[in-house]
Subunit: 206 residues, 2 copies
């Protein structure tokens, strides 16, 4: 019996969980369901996902946990990946809530508008320009935070870095953001990419 | 020396923290800064808020913690308000990330579009109709979850309930959602309102 992960290969939220599992060397069974396929439509019809979205981590007793950042915290619990100091842990969680409330809704949304034909009608020039400006503000905040520290919270890598890495590392290539403005983010991305066990977004388990 | 809370009296995210502090009978100093005032503009200019938003909890050593749900977890740490069982804790966190990623961006956003004159230009009939439909879907998910349980995660009230209470309890009056469709939510709201120490959104500390 092992952990089972329902994940969308192209999705940053799903990638977060695959990345942490790889870095922690935790074995798991992977069930990949891609966006806009019959398989994912069937899974939604069967109500496989508690909150209607992937990733979902299925535990050995069949319990299904939704929400990427909550899954990261669950997997990291009692390890160095979840800061043990209460204040550092609160700071890590703060960045993760910010990631879901601010960062994802701008950085990931702009990338999705550019990528998926089904969303092209929403990709007006005004909306894309607004998302570009707002995304640069959010990335500037991260860059400034990383100018005098190596990791988002505390003095070692944590779930907050994994959470923010997912959509930040493709913000330039997929989202069209100008990452040359953010050298501290670039160095931080490089530190994560260099970790033993690191996997890319498109390294999909068999 | 006590905790200091920077909070916006009218904001649900700030109310979450005031509500938990009241229910836990934790003393604190309150600094209220209202939306669209000179005082809040000055605080932003002085970079008082780490991520540019309230609420912010200032600890005794001056550390400022942002993000309402991260603050709830910090305050609840080592108490019954943060579930001790890892799976239940992951479920509570899952609902809190969902609250920031889905619920707030629909339920609270529709209320804000209706309330603030500065956002009236965004309150087109199409946008309001879209938010109404999506909000009813999200509330239906909560209602269905609450049909056979008293609390969002586990068998006692937790930070997940406090987090979701804030914008759900005003979804009808401020957001224009039809709450008569959601009797299980109505009973859950009543259970929270009946707790010893409960404070209303507009019970602002001196």
């Amino acid at each position: 019996m092992t952990l089972k992960l329902y994940s969308m290969p192209s999705s940053g939220n799903s990638y977060k969980v695959r990345l942490l599992l790889a870095l922690m060397e935790t074995p798991y069974q992977h069930i990949g369901l891609e966006y806009e396929t019959e398989a994912i439509a069937q899974a939604h019809a069967d109500a496989v996902f508690p909150l209607g979205k992937m990733p979902v981590l299925e535990l050995e007793d069949g319990t299904r946990l939704p929400e990427s950042n909550a899954i990261l915290c669950y997997l990291a619990d009692r390890s160095e990946w979840l800061p043990r100091d209460p204040v550092t842990r609160a700071q890590a969680l703060g960045w993760m809530f910010w990631e879901q409330n601010q960062h994802e809704g701008v950085i990931a949304v702009r990338a999705a508008l550019l990528k998926y034909a089904s969303r092209a009608h929403l990709a007006t020039p005004e909306r894309l320009a607004e998302l570009l400006d707002r995304g640069h503000e959010l990335l500037a905040l991260m860059n400034s935070h990383l100018e005098d520290r190596k990791w988002m919270a505390g003095d070692r890598i944590s779930v907050a870095d994994i959470s923010l890495y997912a959509y930040t590392h493709t913000a330039g290539t997929y989202g069209g953001f100008d990452m040359s403005q953010f050298p501290a983010i670039d160095e931080w991305l490089g530190r994560i990419r260099g970790l033993p066990g690191y996997v890319e977004l498109d390294d999909i388990p068999a």
